[in-house]
Symmetry: C2
Subunit: 340 residues, 2 copies
DNA sequence: CCTCGGCCCTAGACCGTTCTAGGGCTAGAC
DNA sequence: GTCTAGCCCTAGAACGGTCTAGGGCCGAGG
């Protein structure tokens, strides 16, 4: 490979354009203070040299970094979707995120959240967005004392931290009403125990059933596929429910697999509704009716809050709740019917 | 929220420890040149102030950044796994990546690869790792002229670019031999057309069948679920194949859904094998037999090559091929048998 | 006793930007 | 004709680190 040449600096551009470095900076940042003639000369010189400012120096010199730190878990595909939506929010500036950079610090099996958070602080982010954080409250609190924090898709109470999350209660109500509308009268909820959001989903399910004058049937499940699988015998009994709202998609998929393995037809013998609209739910071999979170809205609100509190740190923390929507696929139908 | 205080700088630590800034730098970087007594004093002062060096300044001042840029697609869950493995490689230093940082620049629907690449260059990375890049050859070539490039999970020929990829041919051979060992004699390949890796997989399939003295049956498929679904009628005909090797998991899942919808039992009437061992394949409701890529090995080789070529740019580019492995689940069995 | 080499340590340059303070010029107001 | 306001532009400091060059000190060798 040929010797790679020294990167072009602002001084090179200034020399070629015959102006000072400061003026180049003014022109390239697009701020007022340069004559049209010089603006033209600088832009031409920058283009000719293929100049791209060194981000390290730019951020060091600037008073503000306009950088949003993002922490997400590489193992959770849905968080990838949310992060993608964060980029979209910053790019189109709809949430006031115009001109802001995003810096990703992922977590994973070998990289705990604390490491990612410190890495963000070391980059002097002006605010951080945590997607589904798992840190203890005390850690979040100490982070919040240093930088504005927005927590996404997790309810956190009693901390000086912004929260943007899906309305789990409304989602569970929506799903339950969908099953009621299909004509089900025996609807069970395979609930998530103490998992985040589980209490809200139980409440939404209960409220919908109460309003319909029906008795709730709660069955202990959990957030994983095997939770769904192991609950199958308790649901697939004669005279059992004709429809189940599972805590989440993974749990629903586990139940679905166990039902099929046990010879039950879905949705004819049992309608199953999940929660999250994960990638798994959309697979043609699964086609799970589920409750979808609005990743774009979540991301837009997160960016809006993060930017707002970076601009004005005295702003109080707030909680934003985003309504979810039902995604009807092929695991729900009228009782006894074979198609949804 | 209370006023956030000015971040601690190296000068604060130096003042508290009663030494120069340079000595603090020496101690905290762990290089020789400080007496044990001063070392102790500096460490104590840094701990007391909770000092963490500003990465922007550190990278700007240092001669080398020891930073590896990573580009990946947020929408592809498997790439997340690979990136996680990259972090593991850098953390345990097994691949010579000790002391190297990783910087993520994701791509997505609103963020094309070119943007991510430029962002990495702007941070003056010493080398970049591209996970499944989609850029045109010319773009990769111009990138490779500026910085050492390692391409992961894609075959790229004729460029000064390192390639680390799974041995697709061996994987397809492995899968085909698995079906042969189960007793199948009519094995079709739902191939991927011109998709990356498709040619190699066809070759491996063909080689295994030839060695067994059987005739190959190639059916046109593709990389998506709907490719698999639409191919179903051509495969589920009377006297058709008893087993199918699909181009990838998505294609296999599509075929699986269509087969079930058409009343065929998998694996009794048709064994299906995928490729990639994606998250979808592992779902209990899918349980797809498939060919798994070794993300840890891919990542380790990528880091090793990236670091090596960053250290010595004259090193020629090379291609590393990592052997895959078969993951037997429940979509493959002997012809006519109902369990794998 | 003087010199030399090695170890510690520091002053100050440097990295590539942004930003502040101020200078020169022109035009309009008085 | 001066004063002033405003626009352009630049020199140089600043950001917070790293790195280079060199100074002080101490012990060993001549």
């Amino acid at each position: 490979m040929s010797e790679r040449s020294r990167p072009v600096t602002i001084a090179d551009v200034a020399a070629l354009a015959g102006v000072s470095r400061a003026l180049v900076s003014i022109v390239l940042r697009g701020v007022p203070g340069a004559s049209p003639a010089n603006r033209e000369k600088v832009l031409r010189a920058a283009a000719e040299l293929d100049y791209h400012p060194d981000q390290r120096a730019r951020l060091l010199g600037a008073a503000r970094s306009r950088t949003l730190g993002v922490v997400h878990d590489l193992r959770r595909a849905y968080q990838g979707e949310v992060v993608e939506a964060l980029y979209a929010s910053v790019l189109d500036g709809a949430a006031g995120g115009d001109g802001w950079r995003l810096v990703l610090e992922p977590t994973g099996s070998r990289r705990p959240e604390a490491v990612a958070l410190q890495a963000l602080l070391d980059q002097r982010c002006e605010a951080v967005v945590l997607v589904g954080p798992t840190s203890a409250k005390a850690q979040l609190a100490s982070l919040a004392a240093r930088v504005p924090v927005v927590v996404l898709t997790r309810a956190v109470r009693g901390l000086d931290v912004d929260v943007v999350r899906t309305d789990d209660e409304a989602g569970a109500r929506l799903a339950t009403e969908h099953l009621l509308a299909l004509g089900h009268t025996r609807i069970a909820h395979l609930h998530g125990g103490r998992a985040p959001g589980a209490a809200e989903r139980r409440a939404g399910y209960g409220a919908a059933l109460r309003r319909a004058g029906l008795a709730p049937e709660l069955v202990a499940g959990g957030p994983t596929e095997s939770d769904g699988e192991s609950a199958a015998p308790r649901l697939l009994r004669p005279g059992g429910p004709t429809a189940v709202l599972a805590f989440n998609d993974a749990c629903a998929v586990g139940l679905l697999a166990a039902a099929r393995a046990g010879g039950a037809a879905v949705p004819r013998d049992l309608s199953i509704v999940g929660f999250d609209d994960s990638a798994a739910a959309a697979l043609s071999a699964v086609a799970l009716t589920t409750v979808g979170q609005d990743a774009a809205a979540l991301a837009a609100h997160a960016v809006r809050r993060a930017v707002a509190r970076a601009e004005d740190p005295r702003l109080p923390a707030s909680e934003t709740v985003v309504p979810p929507h039902l995604v009807a696929r092929r695991t729900s139908a009228a009782p006894g019917a074979s198609a949804g």
